[in-house]
Symmetry: C2
Subunit: 189 residues, 2 copies
DNA sequence: TCATTCACATGACAACGTCACACGAAGAGC
DNA sequence: GCTCTTCGTGTGACGTTGTCATGTGAATGA
């Protein structure tokens, strides 16, 4: 039933899942290869049969996170039952929600993916394209949609990063991340 | 001439400077306590006479970086020779320039400062207040200036973070960070 | 001059990423 | 059914890291 390559693929998946879980639960310091192997039910050296080094394992976690966001956006794009502006707001708040629920994985997603991880770069590019699709529906002119999309994406990311870093305190700025996203869409899109 | 406490303070400064330099030159991985001590002319254990652990040393680096930005803003605020809107643009592009010139230190500045580092929190708060001062001069209503300031700060930070992470490629978004900052100020401030 | 203080050097330890090597079961060929 | 090969995995080992305990020596105050 379970061929050798299938079980190998399952182990690889288990390693990525274990790393993502440990990252969520204890932050980057908790993601040791020994802990990852342990949670995945293998030894500390097993990951090296699937990844050249720890960095590539983390890149796989980032790739998986981007793909999860991509699936959210896919569902949003497929559902034609709502206005384009609504879709845009949901896309942006959806990304924000990911950043809030999984702050460490989110930080990993936006860390610099070196050229050594082409699958991570591809996943990011695909998801960005989906964002652009949603934004173009609101803006109309697809040429003008790209810079606007870049600004929206960057700004929302900045809001999430400021939130997660504790730099967006309501006392200091008299506002919240949710309000800022609304304000942003209002002024930009 | 050089009393004992003076030399101790000098060593502390040398440690922070060495850590900042190593961070600039080789990224976070290059900042080992052994390398920091070596560059500062002391041994690997010497930092523990000045900081409880490595995290506190890095917090001191972040604090110094924030204070450097604060000095920039001070000069900007003191100089009454230019329009408020010009000052705002210079403040935001100044922060962006710091992020470009010292990407790793910049990332450290916006990392979550735990409550264990009150001096870092204070430095951030002071600099944010200076931003608010500059923004209030443009907005007029100081009450309305705070959320606007939060959005500007977050957005610019997002732009810098996207740039440094390689996520703001001109091919994808048909724009640059500089253009986005201009567009941002145009639409928001 | 002597006792004290305090910054610093040094040895040691556990944990980490990584590599080399050994093992053992699944699959291919006869 | 048997044998050989392949390949995912387990294990021991090594260098490096952050950290602590201990020792040392020079500056300080009486």
């Amino acid at each position: 039933m379970v061929s050798r390559v299938e079980s190998a693929a399952a182990t690889r998946r288990a390693l990525v899942d274990a790393a993502a879980e440990l990252l969520d639960e204890g932050g980057p310091d908790a993601v040791t290869l020994r802990a990852v192997g342990g949670r995945a039910g293998v030894s500390r050296g097993a990951p090296y049969g699937h990844f050249p080094d720890k960095e590539h394992l983390l890149a796989a976690v980032a790739t998986k996170s981007w793909e999860a966001v991509g699936e959210q956006l896919d569902a949003l794009i497929t559902d034609r039952g709502q206005a384009p502006s609504e879709r845009l707001e949901q896309a942006l708040t959806g990304l924000m929600e990911v950043g809030r629920r999984h702050p460490h994985a989110y930080a990993l997603m936006f860390a610099a993916p070196t050229a050594e991880h082409p699958e991570a770069v591809a996943a990011v590019s695909r998801t960005h394209d989906q964002f652009l699709t949603i934004i173009a529906d609101v803006i109309g002119d697809p040429q003008r949609a790209r810079p606007i999309g870049g600004l929206l994406m960057s700004s929302v990311h900045g809001i999430v990063a400021m939130e997660n870093g504790g730099h967006l305190t309501p006392e200091k700025w008299q506002t919240t991340g949710d309000e800022l996203v609304k304000l942003l869409i209002d002024r930009i899109a």
